[in-house]
Every structure is written in structure tokens, then in C-alpha cells.
Symmetry: C2
Subunit: 426 residues, 2 copies
């Protein structure tokens, strides 16, 4: 919309507007055009917006572009009101506003333990020490001169859907499932860097340490480190964003997000796990019997319907598109099934776009809605044969003390008004 | 860097800095760590930056994130000083600062003919008229309720590298090759929309028309329209950016950018091409004999080395990474060969990441540099067997009157200082 008010524009053509009239009830959605209807006044007539009557903004204004002002509602939502301080808090990806498999860099959820470290890459160093033949310090330039790879992977916070362990809590997939993003990373393999330092025979574990105020650190077994891990300096084509660990982060495909240490400054090589605060008191899963699971690294197969959902109700009867995301930390997503009636009938969703290892996939179900109540669920199956469980199946095994690793099936109830809410049906 | 000056910070640890000393001459790039060197003063010692001494910014500050302040130089460059007005002008993608195959949405080159139309999606309409059974008008909601697809494709302006027809002109791949971007699009197939309107038997061509001030329009043959074209409302996961045609644009994979009509408001179906201004006086190629090629839709196979290049000189001897992009409007890139010595020796580059139809691929050559002069070229081969020609081979066939469709091999001369420049060696 221009700054000019409609009063400033002398006349508005109505030939397109007239087209809005005749077939409003047609189930297809689009409306037949009948030019002879043009003179009749009707509330359905839409005035043609004469965007072509004035020049738009030129090229010089935005060296780095931003979304349209009409997309302001597409934003991360934070819960800094819930946490003691905003520096150790969370914001959520607006999954219900996105499509495809790439998360826009500006909309990736955040989880910081000591705020966003603000690092000048010219001064940043990565040290490798411990059980290595040659302790080394790398500048960012050093890393950029090593053989480079690009991979698309999801990162999910272990606490994603954590509030749901005790029942349906949060009304919107941004909040129930929004601690995930899926990016194309550019960097070097962790193996390349470790080979350069030379691992001692008793090297079994790494400790990854961040340069942020929390000194975030986690232990990583050497088998995983040498398998598919990366040290990334790029994401979605450009440099890492500050919130994602600029200028350097670990990429640990398929494993919980807190091990993907951001602002990575040191890798120590040892012969056993470090048992850091983050892997003893924090990122463990307390079972009903008082024992805790720990080193629960892998994010199991999971899925969520992003549309319709509480933040994205149905607005039209007739044909509609149901869509969502599915992922597995153990490989690729093989199949996604969707039910609209609370599990009585399931249909296999259409997966569209690349199906990659430890990356989200996008799925769709095209359906007709006549205004009936819907009970929507999705269920992912991965390349190992694992099937996403119900929340109750998870609770039977793990109790309800856990915060982490809830990959249970999510349910949205869609009312006859089209509004949706977070419910549970076992 | 924090707002705190270094004077505010009582002490700075130097254990990492000490590591910078010992092995500066090691060809590998990274430097061996020797703790016993720590006390010695040396200009190579880098002070440890104590980013972990203060909390960083919290989550609540940026609902939509932006790059680090240390990445301000990564920006589109415009030439509005060269064109009569900035509303009909160009800006260029900083290819030498990017990696992988996804162009960041904020850095996509721009070419507008009447500025960026500022369109409220709630008021936008797409009309289909002409040789159809049912003329239709679609709202954005109507389009979003039709079966959806996601595809990654390059868009190259026909004029990309156009200044180079008459010899090496522009010093940097951002300016010689920066009128290209590669995005994941979300939308509906053009075929879905045309099927809904119903094509008359004599429907042979479409005319795509934009809602911008230039009323940009081009003719599109029906075979291409029904093959792989899309109407996109999403890019890289979110809504189209205003510069890329928000809320709706045509996606015509492999064909010159001006046919990908932005701010798309109308598709007229006819039985012959419209011969619009843009396809008669403008986007044609004047040959030496005075005749002009027209309807030169396809962008032929092409490649460019983005690093090293005039804007990205070599800074270090020893190992280095050469990288670049290759693409073909006729299918996939099959192979990219690179020479460092002006064509005497060629080696096949490593293609990394997805190889997709009518998408750019990222290629790498890891090499050692001892300070010798380099004459760097890359040469793409596509899935049809077509090999990217030299500029002289193109000129022999097309003369030097053309502005468009220069897909000739680009040459960078790297001096012994590491600085690079745009040169020609035939």
C-alpha cells in the first residue's frame, strides 16, 4: 500500500474488482470473471489497487533487504518474561508462517545461556588441545583455507515440546515445536581439523567450549566427531548469524541442539566424558524411578502439522492445504501419515522437495473441508523403521518428570469455526 | 566487540594468544601451541578477547534477526549513478562473499523497471483471461489453497556479464556475474492454475503482466508454461521479498530473468506472442549483420570463480580454497573444469552439495599457492553435453553489439601480491 491515500488517486479501474462478484460460492476458490457484472454495486467487489500509478522504491535504498512491511507478524516470539533474564532464555521459530525446508536466517529460534557473544572474527581463535599430537590454534582465515563442505541439517533443542510432557499446554506450533531450524551450513568437517592436530590412541571424547559468557560446554564421543560433524562458519549462503554462533559453531547432525556449541573457541581431546554441568545437572531426563537418562544425544523421529494449527486457523471451506514438517536424527524421513479424525483413518502425506539425511522434510495433504470438526495428527517414520510414538507411549516409559526429548504425536482440534487448539487424545 | 573498551576489562588472559607464536611459518596454516612461549613478548601474540566476561544481548531484542555488524561489507552494490533513475536500475549480489547454493534473501540482486511495487497481499489479485474456458480471478488465499510445490532454481538476468562483450570491463564478480540468485521457491505450478481456467485448443502463448509501474510484460510459450513453471509466493522459507515480486511472481526455470514477471497480476492466454516492448526493442540480441535474435529465452551453461577474484584476493601462501558457481538453463551441471594457468592445464573441480535441475552448483578446487601469478578460468559442462564457450567463440557467432546472453569463460589474473583483476586472454 502506498503512502498515498485512496483520495489522492483520481480514478480506480474496476475491471478486476468486478470479477470478484459472480462465482464467490464456487468450491474451487477462484472466481469466474464476468465483465458484464461490472456496473452492479456489490460488497464483494474489490477495488483494483493502482500500484502501477506511481514509481516504487529504487535499488539504492537497501544494501541488505528485509521482508515486506505486510509481513511484520512473521516474527520470532520470545519468552523472556518467563525466564529470570533475557540473556538465558528462548525465542521460537514461527513454523506456521513458513514453507519449504529452509528456515529464513532471521527467524531461527534462539537459546542462549549467557546472551549473544559479540565476536570480531579477526580476533577469534579456535584452539585444539588435550590428547593430540600437535596442539593447534586456528584463525578464521586458517579454517577458510581448509577443504570446505555444505550440508543441510535440522537443529532441534532437546527441550522442544518439553512443556507438553504434562499435557497440552501451549497454543500454537511456534511454541510447542518452534525450537527447531533447518539450514544449509558451510564449513569444514570436524575430522579435517582433528586429523590436522593428530589424535592420540586414547582419544575417545571431545569437549566443545563456547566463547560466550556461559562458557557453554559439552562432551562429544569421538565416533560421532569423526562421522558427520562440521565446524560451520556459514549458514544459508552467508556468514553465521550472531544468534547462531558467529563466527564459528559446531554442527552435530541429528543430535540435540545444546551440543552444537556456538561461538566455538576450544576443542579439548580426552579419554572420557567431561561430565560438565550441562550434561549432569541440566540436559538429562529424570525418570519416574528417580534415575536419570543422560547422554541422550539423538533427536528421535518427530513431526508436526504447522497448518492448520492454533495460530493458523482454517479460513475457507472447500479445498485446503494441510502442511507440516518431519525429521529424524537417525537418518531420513521415510514416510509421514496424517489423520484428520483423531486416528480412525490415516493417509500418507506427499513429501515435497529434497529428502536429505538429518534434515526436515516438508509434507502436504490436500483436503476438502465442509466445516466438520477435525482432530489432526501427523506421524513420522524414519529410515531405521522407527515410528513416532504417542505422548502416552512415551510417558509409560519415561514418566512425566522429563523436560527433554518429547517427540510424541501432536494433536490439533479444529472447531467448526476453523479455529484450532492444542488438545490431547492419548 | 563489546561497547566496553579494553580499559574497562581488568586483565586479559594470554594463553590462547601465546599459541599464535611458534609455528607461524607452517604451511598448514594453523599454528602449533607451545605453552612455554607464553611469557615472551612477540608481535604475533594475539590477546585473548574476553567475550565471556560480559553477558551478550538477550533474546527479546530482534524478532527478525540481521547479520553481525562485522559483516556490513557484505552488501548489494547498486549502479543507480549509472542509470537515469534508481527506479529503473540494478543492484548486484556479492557472490564473492557467499558460499553454498542458497542466496541469502537480503542479498539477491535487483532489477526493477519502475521501482519496487509496494503491494498489500490482501488486496492483490491474479487474473487469468483470454483463450480460456473460465476467466478467473484469484486472491492470494485462493492460491495458497491449491496444491503446493517447492523448487530450488537460479534466476539470471539476461544482461549478466553484458558489459564484458566488448572486453574485460568490471573489476569483480559481483559486477561481472552478480545478476544471479538461487532460491528455494514455494508456490503452485502454473499448470495447476491454467488447468483450472481451462485452455482453449488454440491457446499457444501466455502474456505475463506485472502490477508495478512499468507494467512489465513478456510472452511465454504454452509448452514451457505447462512444463516446469511456477507461481511463487514463497522464497527461502518465507514470503517473497518486495524486491523479488511480493506477493506473487512467475518462476520460469532456466530462462532469462525478465520473464519471471514480478508482482504478477495477470496472465492472458493467446495464440501468438504479444511482441511487447520488452521482447522487441529491449531483450533482443543485435547481431553484426544488423539482424536480431529474439525470444532468446534460455540461459546457457556458465560458471564463474568467485574466490579468488578482484574483490577477494589471496591473502596467504600455502593452501587455499578456490570456489565458484556453475549453472545451466538446460538441465543440470555435469562437470566444472578449472585452470590456474590460463588454459594450459585443467583440473575437474569438486562439486559439493545438491546438484539440482536449473539450480546453481557450488564447486571447489583445493590448491597450494607459492606466490606465482595465476590465470584462473572455469568452464561448465551441462547434462546436454554443452560446454561453456570462450568469449571469442561467442563473439565470432554473435558479434559485439549484444548486451545479453554472454556466457563466456571469465578470466581472473592473480598477481604475486595476491591481488586479482579482470583480464581477457581470448
Amino acid at each position: 500500500m502506498s503512502d498515498k491515500s485512496s483520495a489522492d488517486i483520481p480514478s480506480r479501474r474496476k475491471f478486476l474488482g468486478a470479477a470478484g462478484l459472480a462465482g464467490a460460492g464456487v468450491a474451487l476458490g477462484a472466481r469466474p470473471l464476468k465483465a458484464q457484472d461490472a456496473p452492479k454495486p456489490d460488497p464483494l467487489i474489490t477495488e483494483v489497487q493502482d500500484w502501477n500509478r506511481y514509481l516504487g522504491e529504487g535499488v539504492a535504498k537497501r544494501p541488505y533487504g528485509m521482508p515486506s512491511k505486510f509481513e511484520k507478524h512473521v516474527a520470532r516470539r520470545d519468552v523472556s518474561w518467563l525466564t529470570a533474564v533475557p540473556e538465558s532464555s528462548v525465542s521460537f521459530t514461527p513454523l506456521h508462517e513458513l514453507d519449504g525446508i529452509i528456515t529464513p536466517s532471521g527467524l531461527c529460534f534462539e537459546r542462549h545461556h549467557g546472551g549473544i557473544a559479540e565476536i570480531n572474527p579477526a580476533d577469534h581463535r579456535l584452539m585444539i588441545n588435550g590428547l593430540v599430537d600437535r596442539p593447534l590454534v586456528f584463525t578464521m582465515d586458517d579454517l577458510r583455507r581448509m577443504p570446505r563442505v555444505n550440508k543441510i541439517h535440522f537443529l532441534e533443542c532437546a527441550a522442544n515440546s518439553g512443556m507438553e510432557w504434562r499435557g497440552a499446554q501451549l497454543n500454537g506450533c511456534q511454541f510447542t515445536h518452534g525450537m527447531i531450524h533447518n539450514l544449509m551450513y558451510t564449513g569444514v568437517t570436524l575430522k579435517t581439523v582433528l586429523d590436522e592436530a593428530g589424535l592420540k590412541p586414547n582419544a575417545k571424547w571431545l569437549m566443545l567450549e563456547g566463547a560466550d559468557a556461559s562458557g557453554m560446554n559439552r562432551s562429544l564421543p569421538i565416533e560421532k566427531a569423526l562421522d558427520d560433524c562440521m565446524l560451520a562458519f556459514g549458514m544459508n549462503g552467508e556468514a553465521l548469524r550472531p544468534e547462531q554462533g558467529y563466527p564459528l559453531r559446531a554442527v552435530i547432525p541429528g543430535w540435540e541442539g545444546n551440543i552444537w556449541v556456538k561461538w566455538l573457541r576450544r576443542i579439548e581431546v580426552g579419554d572420557m566424558p567431561w561430565q560438565t554441568r550441562e550434561e549432569t545437572s541440566k540436559y538429562t531426563d529424570l525418570l519416574a524411578n528417580g534415575r536419570a537418562r543422560w547422554h541422550t544425544f539423538v533427536m528421535d523421529a518427530k513431526s508436526v502439522v504447522t497448518n492448520p494449527s492454533p495460530q493458523a486457523p482454517l479460513r475457507h471451506k472447500g479445498r485446503n492445504v494441510l502442511t507440516g514438517l518431519a525429521w529424524s536424527g537417525r537418518g531420513t524421513v521415510k514416510r509421514v501419515d496424517v489423520t484428520l479424525d483423531g486416528g480412525r483413518n490415516w493417509r500418507t502425506a506427499r513429501i515435497d522437495g529434497p529428502v536429505l539425511e538429518k534434515s526436515v522434510v516438508r509434507f502436504y495433504v490436500d483436503f476438502d473441508w465442509n466445516g466438520q470438526e477435525l482432530m489432526i495428527q501427523s506421524r513420522a517414520m524414519d529410515s531405521t523403521g522407527y515410528v513416532q510414538p504417542t505422548k502416552d507411549e512415551l510417558r509409560k516409559v519415561r514418566g512425566v518428570n522429563s523436560i527433554y526429548h518429547n517427540n510424541g504425536i501432536q494433536t490439533w482440534l479444529v472447531r467448526s469455526t476453523g479455529e484450532a487448539e492444542n488438545v490431547e487424545i492419548g
